[in-house]
Amino acid sequence: MADIDAGAAKGPQRPRPISPHLQIYKPMLTMVMSILHRVTGAALYFGMLVIAWWLIAAASGPNAYANVEWFIGSLIGRVVLFGFTWALIHHALGGVRHLIWDTLRGFEPADREFLTLASLIGSIALTFIIWAVGYLAMGGPR
């Protein structure tokens, strides 16, 4: 690192950026999806509260369970549940993508664009399929 040291020796020292700054990149799909993986992970983290509430209510008795059913049946409850479904599927598919990348495969530009698009489209499609199956099993929206 002789040239760096020589450069540092003359003139006032200017702190160099340690890594490239986020702002100089143009947003790419892979980058947005990387952020989304973290956002969905954090959303699921707090979403586990609802799962725990649901389990505790089931264990507590019919009255407590009726409260959960009322919440899930409400508009806000449905939005939360739909969001949780999509976040879970998207995060799981994104996780599979990460695991593929961990094996050092799928890094070519075409591959990573494909993996990224596939997990985005796949997560939306799967979410709607799961909800369709759910409604079919319940005999239609109520």
Binding site: L55, A58, A59, G134
Partner: protein
């Protein structure tokens, strides 16, 4: 690598120990992968169980959730997920919280939250399985 490299942020002792910001090394990185792989089949099973239970009466839900196979799958899902999200949130905290005291408090809150969610859920599933 020369010791006086100006871009090196870690002290030589930190580098030798190699334990990172949480002082626990690469163990969590590996556990994050293990819980991710386990999470794939467990998540599929979990979604299937939820879809099958929606809209059923309380009595039916209790019976299904309390049956051994369903209860065991739910227990595996909860334990795996709670550990996975504990590591994941720790990673997020370490990325954004740099002030020592706040970092300590946030990491502690993460542990409390995950423990509470995990224990409450496991207790509920066991109660559903073993009755009153």
């Amino acid at each position: 690598m020369s010791g006086k490299h100006t871009n090196e942020m870690r002290t030589p002792m930190r580098r030798v120990r190699g334990l990172g910001a949480a002082h626990t090394g690469t163990g969590h990185f590996w556990h994050q992968r293990v819980t991710s792989v386990a999470g794939i089949p467990l998540t599929i099973a979990f979604v299937a169980i939820i879809v099958a239970l929606l809209g059923r009466s309380h009595a039916a839900v209790v019976q299904i959730l309390g049956s051994p196979i369903v209860a065991i799958i739910m227990l595996l899902f909860i334990i795996n997920t709670v550990y996975h999200m504990w590591i994941g949130m720790q990673e997020i905290v370490l990325d954004y919280v740099h002030e020592d005291k706040l970092k300590l408090v946030t990491l502690m809150a993460n542990t409390f939250f995950c423990f509470a969610i995990g224990l409450a859920s496991v207790f509920a599933i066991l109660k559903l399985s073993f009755g009153v």
